[in-house]
Each structure stands twice: as C-alpha cells, then as structure tokens.
Symmetry: C2
Subunit: 341 residues, 2 copies
C-alpha cells in the first residue's frame, strides 16, 4: 500500500456514492461508476437473485441447454416457400425482425420493407394503399422468431418469399431465413422501388427453384465445417461472408450445372451469388437459429437463446422462460448512410 | 557483466575456433557455430566482397530492380499452347524445373514425368521406347526458366501442353506456367499412367479452350489484388491456395457460363477446378515469374531473381548476371510419401 499512497491518487468508486463524495471533498479526483448491485434495493428481488447463484437445478438446466446448442449440426437442406414451410405461417401474415411490434410503433425502414412486401405479394397496387392496408389491421405482423425464422435488418418474410431450410437432425428442429438480395437498394433496408420488387420476384421464380434443384443434386450441406473453415479464412460470418460465400459457390456450382435446371437460369443464379459476398449471411443466421432453438425450452435454464431488435426495441428470450420477450428501448445508433442520405 | 558471470556460463562462439577451445579446456560448455566470414580466407575475394558493400552502383541497380519487381502488375491474360506461345519453344523440346540438367543426371520423378510427356505427345508408344528416346539425345531438355516459364515439382512442359499466359504491362514482359492437374497421380510428381495421360489430353482438348473462352468473356484478371485478398484469407499462395482458387472460381464461373463454350465442357471444367484447391498455384507461380523477370537483367544488380531446383541441384540466377546459373547439390529432404511408398 505504501508506494500506492506515495503517488497522486485517482479514485474509481462503485456502489454507494458517499465513499466517492468523501474523497471528492478532500480534493482528490474521483470517478463514480454508474453501477449498482442488481435488484435496485428491493430486498425480495435481491434474495431471489442470490438464491439463483450456483443453484443446482439452474446449473444442470444450463448444462443441458448448452449441450443441445453444441450438439446441433445445422445442415442446409433446401429452399422452400414461406407459406408452405414456415410453422404457423398465415396467408395474410408478414414476419419481421426483433420482438413483437405493431405498425403504429414500427420504424421507417421496417414500414418501408413491409410496404414493399405488400406490393410484392400483390395485396395492394400502390405504396399508399399498401400503407393503408398495413395500418388497417388486416395483416398480421409477427416476429420471425415466432416461426423458427430469422432475417437480416428489417427481417421481412412474406408468404410468397423463398426461404432457406436448415435442419438440425441432432435435435429434430428446423430453422428458416429469407434469401440475401445483395447490397444497395434492397427490401431489408426498407427500399421498395420497382428494382427491389423485380429482384424479389426473380428470386422467387428463378433463384429459389434453381437453388432447390442444385441442393437436390448435391444433397444437404453440413454448415458447421463450412463455417469453421470460413472463420479461419477471415470471415466472422456476419458482416464478412466473403470466404463462406466462396466456399458455398464451390460446392453449389457443379451441382447447379448437373441439376437439370435451365442453363440460362443457372447462369443468372451463379452470376447473382458470385456477385454478392453477403450471400451466405442468411444461411449462417438460420444455422445459428437452428442451434439456439435446440437450446430453447429447457425448464430452469437461464441461457439467452434470442437477442434481436426491431429498430425500436431490443429484446431477448431465455431458454427456460418459454415465449416471453424481455425488451428495452433500442438506443439510436451512429449510422453509416449511403451517399445522399 | 557482473551478474552475467555470477551464473553458470554456456558459451556460443563464432569464427576462429581457438576462442572456444580455450573455454572448453577450462571445463565450460561451449558451442562453436559452423560459420566463417565469407571468402574462405582468400584475401582477394574478401576485398572484392568488401568493395561491394554499400557500393553505390550496386545499390542503385538493386533499387531499380526492386522497383521493377514492385511495379509489376501481373494479369491473367489467356491460356495458350506451349509450342505457340512460349519463347524459343521447339517442337521436340521438353522443359523442366530448376537449373539445366541432362537425362543421365535427372532424378526418378523428373524422368517419370518426361516419359509421361513423351507418351502424351505421341513421340513413343511405350514407356520403354520413351526412355530410349529421352536417353538418345533427340529431345532437347531445357529449364522452364529459359522460356519465361515455371511449373510446380518436376515442372514438365511439352509442346502440346496448355499454359497460362500472365502479362506484366508495367514492364512489357510475359510469363507462363502449365495448368494444375490436381493431387494424387499426376505428371508433376512423376506419374505417367493412362489415368495421368488421359487427364492431360482432357486438359489440352477441353479445359484449355474452355478457360480461354471464359477469360475472353471476362477480360484479363488483375492478379495482385486477388492474391492480396487470398493472403488475408489464410493462403500463402503456394501450398495453400484454397481462398485464391475460390476467388478465381467466383470470377471465372459466370464468365464461363456466358462464354458460349459447350455446356457439357463448362460443367466438366467447373467441377474440375472446384475440386482442386491447388488450381490457383500455377497462376501464382506465373505471376511471381512475371514480377521477377521484370527485375532480371539490371546491370550491376545483385538481386536474386530465380531460386529453383530440379531434384538434383538447387540453383539461383542473379539480376545483373544474365543467364548464368549458380548451382549447388540439393540435399535429400525428409519427404512425406503417399500410402504404400
């Protein structure tokens, strides 16, 4: 202690502020950390929390949940159509990112993407009518996560959209994601111009059946080895998917050429996926969803199995707490905008 | 020094051995490093070497050679046929790896590969006749490096073989390499069975024209950016080319599909290159050759521009010393053999 006090002191304090106040009154610099013990002074809550520390039932439940997570073997199985393969998907339903949110509270990009999805589905013939329809309560909005699904950004999945089907034979569950549109003006960022809708239709009519034929020729793809190799090649498999997309292409392209799909379609599809380093993103998301859903629903487990945001709120779900969401307002991020915005 | 001598001494000596001998006689452990100053005690040579240290003409020449090396921009241009595109390639000539060597002194794998090349060219109809032909002096054997070319392992290039053409517009030179056959039984390891020769014929008749059509549709590929990206993805672009091969496939495949080449050929070619993580190796070798040849021939430069071995000797060439080789016997390496060898 002696050498410590020989130097000028700069003090960090945590907890009760009167310690720091006393030091500040003596003229020393002091920083009070913005942290208090959990439970906010509520004795009952604090005792309940304390009882959970090293609680054998919770520890055992968490071990079981983590085992299921680690044992998962996500496999890219096929490409389906949302209304046909997603559990509990209705014909007038649109899925979105994050925890539940109604139209009135949605952020702009999510609304833009929903307007795009309504136009794409042909439920309205103008953005104005699509907005009126969305606001009128005739369309059900539900989180992707209520349907074993995930999607990047706005995360919009409407009934006609193609979805990746990722199976996890180790637990017997499946997970789903929409297909990546590329960068620039795309639905997931809220764009809904003719260019965006034309691409979505092409994805439904050409990309999806061609990929399905390719995967049928190839057989299922084990995703963990592919993702592990991509991680060693510099991807983090979220915002950088250059290696994973390349490795996927290398597997998929010979199969596409043997699939019997029309040659012109195959050429278009290969050019599309070769031109989009993010193509693998939605597959890695579905793989993670399949792994985490396997860990969900273990009674007593405190493992967080969902972390997701809808642009307004951030929410989590906990393995042992069923379908319940725990949400908090999402902070406004310092965004990087496309030129002109 | 004092704390040093307080501990038990373990001495390394370099140079005159009597220093070490004296220590050893006192009973201390001593290791005499196997190094002596250059020139082996020859005063004239030592003085000549000393004059070269920081010699302004040599320094300037080396700066110029390194500039040319760094300024090189190797581009994958097309696939040609050795007899048509290699400088000074004769109709009865076979190129090999490393410094010059005649048939009598060649190692087994190089002889095996040359027998394979003779059978592939149709100059003989049995391995025995091919060996007799090779030993009879009717076929000229020259290093790839005498023809701006490189090839992995035995490095055999015969007149009918397809070669990558890599141009370096910055210096106006070109370099060449044969095409990678994959792993297993292949000519570059000395194999010459029917399987090997059939593959070589397919490479000449199908792979080469299809790649040429693809590159024509695509245009030249700048190799430095592609190799730089591959280096960041874990390749060293010699024994690991997984990323570079994938990146090449991603560029090449859409072009192949648009090239007008027969669809069946395109499918075969894509399957072949997608199944061979080493496919890019020969391209990176030709790129390096193009860069180093640009640095060769600078009067006064001591930059080593070639390091190559033929299985018997290792040799170098120096920028300012023209076509001369400096060779030394190649040590026998501890090899990793295929099962059964």
């Amino acid at each position: 202690m002696k050498p410590l006090f020989a130097k000028p002191l700069s003090v960090l304090t945590v907890g009760v502020s009167s310690f720091g106040d006393a030091i500040a009154q003596c003229g020393a610099p002091v920083t009070q950390l913005d942290w208090v013990p959990p439970a906010g002074g509520d004795r009952q809550v604090a005792e309940a929390l304390a009882r959970l520390l090293n609680e054998p039932m919770v520890e055992a439940a968490n071990a079981k949940a983590v085992d299921r997570y680690l044992a998962a073997q996500p496999r890219l199985s096929t490409v389906g159509i949302a209304r046909e393969v997603l559990p509990r998907m209705d014909r007038r339903m649109i899925l979105h990112a994050g925890p539940p949110i109604d139209w009135a509270r949605m952020c702009g990009p999510m609304r833009g993407a929903i307007v795009g999805a309504i136009l794409y589905e042909g439920w309205a013939d103008s953005p104005q009518r699509a907005q009126a329809l969305a606001a009128g309560g005739e369309i059900a909005f539900e989180p992707c996560h209520h349907h074993a699904a995930v999607g990047p950004m706005a995360g919009i999945i409407s009934p006609s959209m193609p979805v990746w089907v990722v199976t996890n034979p180790a637990h017997g569950n499946s997970a789903y994601s929409n297909l990546n549109e590329g960068l620039g003006k795309v639905l997931r960022f809220g764009a809904n111009s003719a260019e965006v809708l034309t691409r979505l239709k092409w994805m439904e009519k050409t990309l999806a059946p061609t990929l399905r034929a390719g995967l049928e020729a190839l057989g299922e793809i084990d995703l963990k080895p592919l993702m592990a190799q991509a991680l060693h090649m510099g991807d983090e498999v979220h915002n950088r998917n250059a290696a994973a997309s390349s490795l996927l292409i290398k597997k998929l392209v010979p199969a596409l050429l043997k699939s019997g799909a029309p040659a012109g379609d195959v050429a278009q599809v290969i050019e599309f996926i070769a031109g989009n380093d993010h193509f693998f993103l939605n597959i890695s998301m579905a793989a993670c969803k399949a792994m985490l859903d396997a860990a969900h629903g273990v009674a007593g487990s405190s493992l967080v199995t969902v972390m997701a945001r809808n642009g307004v709120e951030f929410g989590i779900r906990v393995s042992g707490l069923g379908d319940r969401w725990f949400t908090t307002p999402a902070p406004v991020v310092e965004g990087l905008y496309f030129p002109g915005y």
